[in-house]
Symmetry: C2
Subunit: 456 residues, 2 copies
């Protein structure tokens, strides 16, 4: 089909939709380091993990060998409600930039959660239901994950208790209402409903909260209530596994039209969207079948890959979670409250960290005013108002396309457009009013946080 004019949007047919998730660890010679028990310093066993997570998800977390893991039929049925997501050819953006580059984006925002998060939320809710649980607890930052999980739980009739980072809870009351509409209960974090929350509040009464802190509260809530488990929207390998549906669909669509991307770009907070998008392409690279440039884009205000260290660290502020080896700024790192949107996690997926450490991918950081500038330009020509998170990838995709304009190279660029910005208008307003500011942590800020990391 390679001679056909590429449509604006490529939708796979139902019968072409993935039946397997792709587990990139199976193709990694050097695997990500194991999760460690913070008490003993020993690798976490399935038994230990089962007290926090659903059993089937623990199996997936520890599975480093099976390349393909079948997507259960119930999940595939749910996927059919909002997937396949379109692979879009950005004809209008190309024209505006005057670039010879061909730009594609995989758009994950056409569902009510507004992002790719639903891909993993429905899987995690499914396994929780299958295990006979009453409900799940979780944290949410910008709100996409909490929304996605509340949708998934409502579908499977599970309780859903969301700890929402306080600053987001206040800046995004409407996100909270979407979660409530789907039947979830939403608590601003840190809260006085958990021991760890009370402790953090006592120490930092004016804190804006952080993902690391909300995680601690959600884990405590899960482990102290019968019939509940904790679920997480990023960072974990199981989440990247579920998110591989993005990459598998994108690759299937591109293969169908004979398109081979030269550069693949994704924004990176905890790494779930980036890891999911690049997985099958990275698999080819790992197997020596093809080569691609991969670029992770993170905010300059929370630059774990570009300015963090690769070491074991706590995943949460309360230090109740397993230790993970990852690129990290230290679990006590708190991004500036002027930072809009998600991507405010101090660490990074273990898989993404290991791939980055092996030199298989690049990382860059960008400042938020330039991100909103790119977002606005994109919105005006492509007709989609992007989430601030996704706009990090847009910014770098536009930069790469402009570089092609200089060199005359007709590169093919694929980026992940993870979601829509409908609940980020507070940040857009700041940008529209010309009062948005940037913030880059000083070396001293980062050192202070890194000094508090566990010594192993």
């Amino acid at each position: 089909m390679s001679n056909e004019k590429i449509p604006y949007k490529i939708y796979l047919e139902e019968k072409e939709m993935p039946v397997n998730w792709y587990n990139v660890r199976a193709d990694m010679k050097k695997k990500p380091a194991p999760l460690l028990n913070p008490g003993t310093g020993q690798p976490m066993t399935a038994e230990e993990l089962n007290t926090v997570f659903c059993e089937e998800l623990v199996k997936q977390e520890l599975n480093e060998t099976d390349r393909y893991i079948e997507i259960p039929e119930e999940i595939r049925e749910f996927y059919k409600m909002y997937r396949p997501s379109p692979l879009v050819r950005a004809y209008c953006l190309e024209k505006k930039l005057g670039t010879p580059a061909k730009i594609y984006y995989k758009f994950e925002g056409n569902n009510t959660s507004g992002s790719h998060k639903l891909n993993s939320a429905i899987a995690q809710a499914y396994y929780a239901k299958k295990q006979g649980l009453k409900g799940v607890t979780t944290e949410t930052g910008a709100g996409q994950w909490g929304t996605a999980l509340s949708m998934a739980c409502s579908y499977f009739d599970l309780d859903c208790n969301v700890y929402m980072v306080k600053v987001s809870y206040e800046q995004k009351p409407f996100r909270r209402e979407v979660m409530r509409t789907y039947g979830a209960s939403v608590t601003p974090s840190p809260s006085d409903t958990t021991e760890v929350g009370r402790k953090i509040l006592a120490e930092f009464p004016d804190t804006n909260g952080s993902l690391g802190c909300a995680i601690s509260e959600a884990v405590e809530a899960a482990t102290t209530h019968e019939g509940y488990r904790y679920v997480l929207g990023s960072v974990l390998s199981q989440v990247l596994l579920h998110q591989s549906v993005i990459g598998v669909e994108a690759k299937t669509a591109m293969d169908k039209y004979g398109i081979k991307p030269d550069i693949i770009i994704g924004c990176a907070g905890g790494g779930s969207n980036l890891g999911g998008l690049i997985s099958p392409f990275m698999g080819e690279k790992l197997r020596g079948e093809a080569d691609y440039r991969f670029i992770a884009v993170e905010p300059a205000s929370c630059p774990s890959l570009t300015r963090g260290v690769y070491a074991y660290d706590f995943c949460d502020t309360g230090k109740v979670c397993p230790l993970q080896k990852m690129y990290t700024l230290g679990s006590s790192f708190m991004p500036s409250p002027n930072h809009a949107g998600g991507l405010r996690y101090h660490g990074m997926s273990g898989i993404v960290s290991e791939l980055y450490d092996q030199g298989l991918m690049e990382a860059v950081s960008v400042e938020q005013t330039e991100v909103f500038e790119a977002a606005t330009a994109f919105a005006r020509v492509e007709g989609i108002l992007p989430a601030p998170e996704s706009s990090h990838a847009i910014k770098v995709a536009m930069d790469e396309a402009l570089r092609c304009k200089e060199t005359g190279e007709e590169k093919t660029i694929l980026f992940g457009l993870t979601g829509t910005g409908y609940f980020d208008m507070y940040a857009y307003q700041k940008y529209n009013d010309g009062v948005m500011t940037d913030y880059i942590p000083t070396d001293e800020d980062i050192k202070k946080s890194l000094d508090q990391m566990p010594k192993l």
Copy 2:
């Protein structure tokens, strides 16, 4: 293809997308009554209309004979960015209701304007650009139309001045920010920027505003500024023409799979989505080729079809627009401020009014708490958070499906899901908190308003 299992979502391919709009007036034996000059009481001429509207749009407004009007290529290109919209089989809703009915919805919400309004906005902006205008003015109620128009104007590099009904401007600051992001200027109406606005403010200083009032301001702004014209998002026949793309796509998709709807349902404010959705089906009915039940659903708080009169009336509060024969509550009718979302216009499309008057379609009114109850139930199973407007159609579609459950009839129901509710969380919050109320105007309320209608 009729033996194949119907997919959850039917997307037409690019090459199957409509190349013509369908003009239902061509198949109406008795045409809608002409627009009248409020000064002379005589039918408006093209010359007169050209001072307010773009020339090509005036031609379309007056064209009662051409069944098909070609969609210009530039507009078809833009349509490809966000269309075709999916025709969705509501498998999960059917299962939840336990109905033998087959429910389909045409979902117009997957674009940043959040609704079908973009279909006409891009057409109107295109013709304005083609005429060499500097910009356009318009009104917006709930904000969808203003957002759609700002997107369209940004695409064609036109000025866009939006008068936004004051209560919406205050309840929906984020809608305003989306419009600003697309470069529009947004003024709460009534405002002191126009003569008619100042007059209304002097008489009713505490008014919440209304569509009728915002229209007056936008028309005045267009006619008093060189190089500007006024554009309208509903009611006019040209708008229904553009919105026929919804119905033509839906019918093409249904025909492709051998599906014939028994009942077609749409929410009705000014009638643009309803008219667009039903047009090609109504054409078959008018030509005697097929029969369908059509149901218009309006809010009990603004019931123009079910409780209004069919007569010539002013389209706007300031009485500057042409007179239109339509079902109306009187141009001074103001829906209660407790009414959420759009569908707050006092009148109705002339085409829809005439079809209704000829007994070719039915109309019902529903109260908003039952609408939000249906919206929430729908969101939880179908994964889409619907706009309050669209949820009027959901409510009646569910009622019809439940009726099928009682009778055992396997009817096929098609309804228009015009948009998403992401900017309506203020109303959802009221519903979630159990403090949403209903309002039904008394006969006295309506009589008072009808008494102020023009006597012709």
